[in-house]
């Protein structure tokens, strides 16, 4: 049994050492070190049962914190405020947990809530898709054609305006399955997380956005 004790001491030491010096896993290193120290202080293996307490669970909490700190920093770097909110909430709650299953459940619940929020936020990118329809509306409205064709051009332009309204209506209907109160908000498009995907200048985005808001009444 004494050999086993030494071997467990070695194992817990190695477990802690794998995080040593890695700034991304500071919490894990501290928690694993506490666990290892509890083991190093045992004179017989059975002592560990009394000394371990919730140290093992705290290692899980620490790892969740480290991963979510990294996640949060990553999304903040790219101004992804909706995505960054998920790790923020997990970090706020993580220390309340002593039981691993409850911790996992909280993380899964927050991540799924986050997926819903991200889906709803990114559904606003329907504007990106409608850009092409707005351009067609403009092309048909502005095209110089013989006078006999002007009403046809007008009809085509109206068709594209209707397509934009229908696209938005259908997206709202779909998203209302996730959140019955959700309504498309074109104003969020200018936030970096959405704007960065549009290969256009700010002035062009403002111009299109004004037209789009007028057509969709959003």
């Amino acid at each position: 049994m004494s050999d086993l004790l030494e071997e467990y001491k070695e194992y817990y030491r190695v477990r802690a050492d794998r995080y040593a010096g890695n700034a991304n896993y500071k919490n894990s290193f501290a928690a694993e070190k506490n666990l290892s120290e509890a083991m190093q202080g045992c004179s017989v293996l059975e002592d560990f049962r009394d000394r371990i307490g919730n140290l093992n669970e705290l290692c899980a909490v620490a790892l969740v914190k480290d991963k979510n700190i990294m996640e949060n920093a990553f999304y903040k770097e790219f101004q992804e405020v909706v995505r960054a909110a998920v790790p923020e909430r997990i970090l706020e709650k993580a220390d309340q947990f002593n039981e691993v299953f409850d911790l996992i459940n909280m993380v899964n619940t927050e991540e799924t809530r986050g997926m819903r929020e991200i889906s709803l936020d990114e559904a606003n990118r329907i504007f990106h898709y409608c850009w092409m329809l707005l351009d067609r509306l403009e092309i048909y409205s502005e095209a110089v054609v013989p006078s006999g064709y002007e009403s046809d051009m007008k009809k085509s332009a109206e068709y594209y305006a209707d397509s934009i309204r229908e696209t938005v209506r259908s997206m709202e209907e779909q998203m209302n399955l996730l959140d019955p109160a959700w309504r498309h908000n074109p104003d969020v498009i200018t936030a970096y997380r959405h704007r960065r995907l549009l290969p256009y200048k700010d002035e062009h985005i403002s111009e299109q956005l004004a037209k789009y808001k007028h057509i969709t009444n959003r």
């Binding site: 070695e10 991304n24 990553f74 095209a143 110089v144 064709y149 779909q174 960065r196």
Partner: protein
């Protein structure tokens, strides 16, 4: 109307098996009951939703997958803890329990591969077609279903089945593996890359005199636990993706993105003591690469799509003046082809000039700048560009200057334009090379001749135009 059974079976199958597995092991209690209740709710939603997206949205809104998994995990854990209490601390038993779980994992991975390969080999496309038609007929006229008239017009699903099966027979004559993916599964599911590291762990645990704590320690020190997390498979996937992107180089940004992802993997692996990248660092690194390339990819495809539309305007407008225009696509499909031809002649220049204006406004790219833009050269170099050099130069030199609103194509250009069409000079004579490059890549991965046993031979261009010679293209 319920979800299509083929869809709901795929969505619910895993959960159904988990419930059955617990039932087979005589598990019971609060966690099991809750698991069953959540599974029943999934089945209920599959019966009431006709649209898979609506089904997924509601499952997500109710957190059913999380609740199911939470109770499943708690059930298994409670059972393991109960067993542990009965046994007490037994080093050999703990080691054995761990190794048995690994042996079971190896078996499951191999069995699963064998199962999906077998399923693919035995796939009966006619049966799948019949089932699909039966489902469609049962639900005809319901929300999301086909109209009843579809079946009345075609004489019931029986007649449609016979017609469909005949088509499948014809297809299989030419492409015997059209519906089989066993070779692809065998190549892509490189289970050895997962099972080998697990077997290395088992071998470590089986070493004479091995204890549980020593076994746990050595796997950390040697990185055996990291090797088991499938990073070798991740690398294989990255190599495959890069190969595919190189074979189908839609834009340089895709190639660079996939190249950087593979390079990052190798860099992190080389820096690691255990030669395996840290999964967190790899994941953030890959996401960072995506953030850099997403806007570049969007800009590339936006610019390309705009000049494609502009060149199409010139193509279709000039073609509409040829005497045979009403007899060919797209006008021949219209109700009044002659009138449609005239409509094109009268309206296309106005539309073209608006597209030209928007291209200039958004990207500062004028008409002649298109041919100097990297997107154009790239598409010519990799055969994505559909027109020949001769025809493109004709559009630039002869058609563009006269494509003016309220004006017609000058009479003297109609004959040369018709000659381009009738002499088959419009198309890029090497357009088929895009598919050929992909076919070569496919066969290099899945075996010689595999592509043609599943898909049609890329149609060779019949264009009589000369091949593109970029150095002689004076508008570059």
């Amino acid at each position: 109307m319920p979800l299509d059974p083929m869809m709901s079976d795929a969505l619910l199958g895993t959960f159904k098996n988990m419930v059955q597995e617990c039932r087979d092991k005589n598990m019971s209690g609060e966690f099991f009951d809750k698991m069953c209740a959540h599974y029943n709710r999934l089945e209920e939603l599959a019966r009431t939703h006709d649209d898979v997206m609506a089904f997924n949205m509601q499952v997500m809104a109710e957190d059913i997958y999380i609740k199911f998994s939470d109770n499943y995990s708690r059930l298994l854990s409670a059972q393991a803890q109960e067993q542990q209490k009965t046994i007490g601390y037994d080093d050999a038993a703990l080691l054995k329990q761990n190794l048995d779980a690994l042996r079971d994992a190896v078996k499951r991975i191999r069995d699963e591969k064998a199962r999906v390969m077998e399923e693919s080999r035995n796939y009966d496309p006619k049966e799948a077609f019949r089932k699909g038609m039966d489902f469609a007929e049962c639900n005809a006229g319901k929300k999301g279903g086909m109209p009843k008239s579809a079946f009345l017009l075609n004489g019931s699903s029986g007649a449609m089945n016979r017609q469909g099966e005949k088509g499948i027979d014809e297809e299989l004559k030419n492409r015997p593996n059209a519906y089989k993916n066993d070779v692809e599964i065998d190549v892509l599911m490189k289970t050895d890359l997962i099972t080998k590291p697990i077997e290395n762990l088992i071998a470590l645990g089986e070493e004479p005199g091995m204890t549980y704590p020593r076994y746990l320690r050595i796997q950390i020190e040697k990185g055996l636990d990291k090797a088991m997390d499938g990073s070798a498979l991740v690398r294989e996937g990255l190599v495959y993706l890069l190969g595919m992107t190189n074979a189908m180089p839609v834009s340089p940004h895709y190639i660079e993105r996939d190249k950087q992802k593979l390079e990052l993997f190798d860099k992190l692996a080389s820096e690691s003591m255990v030669k395996t990248p840290n999964q967190d660092e790899l994941s953030f690194g890959h996401r960072r690469i995506d953030y850099v390339f997403d806007p570049l990819i969007n800009e590339w495809s936006e610019i390309k799509s705009r000049w494609e539309d502009m060149l199409y305007d010139l193509y279709i407008w000039s073609l509409s003046y040829c005497s045979f225009a009403p007899m060919i696509f797209p006008w021949s499909l219209h109700e009044n082809p002659r009138q449609s031809v005239i409509d094109t002649q009268k309206t296309q220049p106005g539309l073209f000039r608006q597209r030209e204006r928007l291209m200039q406004k958004y990207f500062g790219i004028g008409f002649y700048d298109i041919f100097k833009h990297p997107t154009f050269e790239w598409d010519v170099r990799y055969y994505f560009y559909g027109s020949s050099q001769e025809f493109t130069e004709f559009l630039i030199e002869k058609i563009y200057p006269v494509c003016i609103p309220l004006q017609d194509l000058p009479q003297d250009l109609i004959a040369p334009r018709a000659a381009m069409y009738q002499g088959n000079k419009e198309q890029n004579p090497e357009g088929h090379k895009v598919s050929e490059a992909y076919m070569a890549f496919y066969d290099s991965v899945f075996g010689a001749g595999r592509y043609l046993s599943k898909y049609s031979m890329p149609e060779k261009s019949t264009s009589t135009a000369a091949v593109w010679n970029w150095s002689s293209f004076k508008y570059k």
